[in-house]
């Protein structure tokens, strides 16, 4: 046991890191709260569990984020690890209200990876950056022995300026706020699963991997007072809402019927036994804002290609703080939890 680990919930009885710890669900959260943060000690006193950190700097606020991309396979319908990496970081900055200024790209390459593959990934990164208006300014390259790194791992970091009149953070979410979801869920995870060894299935589904900073900019340009933005990634809509509820200390209620699930996502989740709200996304966000501002912001979202299907799905409540409750199609209510770890197909 590492000295200084905190409770209240002890880490699950693993002496080692497991795949589940990277799933974006409860195990990941535990690793952060009960290993990393205590171990970092005083240095991490201001660390926040948000997509990016906002650091005050000479009268400005700088958003700063980092992410690693270990997706397997490297190429999937709708994209590859390269644009995933760039868009993922652009999106984390956007969730703080910042436009991307500069990104760094660090590669860990597996010995034996074909240069053609690396070239295609790098090209995709350049194109994604141009699309998002971001510059790729620095990077690093390392090579590890064959058998490691699944081909390649990419780590990106990004900085952006938060405009002076923008203040989006979990503390601003308040009971009565409306929750808007920018579009249909489950596309990325399903697209990746469809080419995952052992599970392959035929589909025309493509990942929704996209940069959300343009959409965010059009939302912030309205006079709506957006309190919080969160992009959906691993763990799906469920993980995002659960994190918000826990961090903000309020309850969340949403209506399942309002969450659009593309028919193919529903079909794939059906035979694999997965819940679409637990499946990863890479081009969707939720926005939390005062109910009175919802119409204005929705209008702006609908005018943008990535927000065309934006819809109100629920609200923040002061009941059941920290808990997310969904109204089912039959009118009953169920508690929505984060997935524990990796999304695994089931037979039961």
């Amino acid at each position: 046991m590492v000295d200084g680990w905190t409770c209240p919930l002890p880490l699950r009885d693993y002496a080692k890191v497991t795949i589940g710890h990277g799933g974006g669900g409860q195990l990941t959260d535990e690793l952060i709260r009960h290993l990393f943060l205590p171990a970092f000690g005083d240095a991490a006193v201001d660390a926040t569990p948000t997509d990016s950190a906002v650091v005050a700097m000479a009268g400005h606020r700088l958003a700063f984020t980092t992410d690693s991309y270990v997706v397997r396979p490297l190429f999937f319908p709708g994209g590859n690890i390269g644009e995933l990496a760039v868009n993922g970081t652009v999106n984390d900055l956007a969730m703080a209200g910042a436009q991307p200024l500069a990104l760094s790209t660090a590669f860990v390459l597996e010995e034996g990876l074909e240069l053609d593959v690396l070239g295609r990934v790098a090209t995709a990164m350049g194109e994604a950056a141009v699309r998002a208006g971001a510059r790729l300014v620095t990077g690093d390259t390392k090579v590890v022995d064959a058998g490691q790194a699944d081909g390649m791992y990419i780590t990106t970091a990004g900085i952006g300026l938060v405009p002076a009149d923008v203040d989006v953070r979990p503390e601003r979410a308040a009971p009565g706020d409306t929750i808007i979801l920018s579009g249909p869920v489950g596309l990325h995870g399903t697209a990746v699963l469809s080419v995952r060894e052992g599970l392959e299935f035929g589909t025309e589904l493509r990942s929704d991997c996209a940069p959300l900073n343009g959409l965010v900019q059009s939302m912030l340009a309205t006079d709506g007072d957006i309190h919080l933005l969160r992009d959906l990634t691993r763990g799906g809509l469920a993980a995002a809402l659960c994190e918000i509820a826990e961090t903000a200390g309020f309850g969340i209620r949403f209506d399942e019927s309002d969450v659009a699930v593309p028919p193919e996502v529903r079909a794939a989740c059906g035979f694999l036994g997965l819940d679409p709200i637990h499946v990863a996304n890479e081009g969707k966000l939720v926005a939390i804002l005062p109910a009175d501002d919802a119409d204005t912001v929705l209008e702006a979202m609908h005018a943008h290609e990535l927000g065309a299907d934006a819809v109100v799905i629920g609200a923040v409540t002061d009941e059941h703080p920290g808990v997310v409750v969904a109204r089912t199609a039959l009118g009953a209510h169920r508690i929505v939890d984060r997935p524990l770890g990796e999304q695994l197909p089931r037979i039961c």
Binding site: G270, E319, H320, L330, G331, A332, R334, I335, G341, I347
Partner: protein, 369 residues
Amino acid sequence: MKYLSEFADPVLAQRLLDEISATVTRHWAIMEVCGGQTHSIIRNGIDQLLADEVELIHGPGCPVCVTPVELIDRGLRIAAMPDVIFCSFGDMVRVPGSAGDLFAVRAAGGDVRVVYSPLDAVAVAEENPSKEVVFFAVGFETTAPANAMAVHQAHERGLTNFSVLVSHGGGPPAIEAIVTSPESRVDAFLAAGHVCTVMGTRQYEAIVTEHRVPIIVTGFEPLDVLDGIRRAVRQLEAGRAEVENAYARAVRRDGNEVAKGMLADVFEPTDRQWRGIGPIPASGWRLTSRYRSYDAEIRFGVGDLAVEESGLCRSGDVLQGIIKPSECEAFGTACTPRHPLGATMVSTEGACAAYFQYRRLGDEVVPGG
């Protein structure tokens, strides 16, 4: 007709709920013995929407959760061996044995792979001739034919590097065990629809005749589950006890003869331990002598590994509806979803796990309807 959304129609669901309310005149306890139905009930909130007089008890319906700790530990030991590729359905990977689960074995370097179908494990064996490939063959009768085909195919193809760790259980002996228990409160059963797709409905006729308890063969979509409950209530109110098929689109009285034939060739009944419940005679299956060489427990010599189940665990009583999860001493303390002791806490849809989640709302009732 797509066979899915039609059977989730909220308007028709309300009609079924109203019909149940109009029919019921007193308390009835109805038990389902299928994890898929438990999942559907909790997922759709059916227990919230039902008339108060109808009590649903979640019975031992999850083959994953009732797999004895001992068998899981044997699987973990095999999975940790060098040059073994251990294949499993996704459900099993997070189920803890006495110390750790398949995830932990993978973290320690074991080659653990999730497969969707048992035939995928056979393919892995064909592609990796220098490794031993073991498939964790878990399931009730619905899955047994799939697992049987994997063994059969391995046999036909002369694969010497494939074996199965068998954890199979059967429905009727479990229902029989519950019905004959003196403390049982169950008035009627919903039988697992897809088990019956394979085995047919005849196997329940003797139980119904001998014990005078209605058994309704039920499907999984919201309307299917509600219809099963509706028919059970109707029989109970009328004092009848019969086998009734509420899932006729997928279940015939004789079941699937081809599948049954394969099962009879590959498996034979055996006594079996149920996690948290104890031994139920002739409730499990093992490989017949013709296929015994594919038995991983024998091949890897782990049959001697014996593990005691937790003495604290009362999942057997919960599964029979004798106590509520919150009435168990270990509930929420020694036994939680993170450190489960028995079947009902291991499964995310087990009664104890479900109670654990809803307990988070404290005394406040989550509004239904």
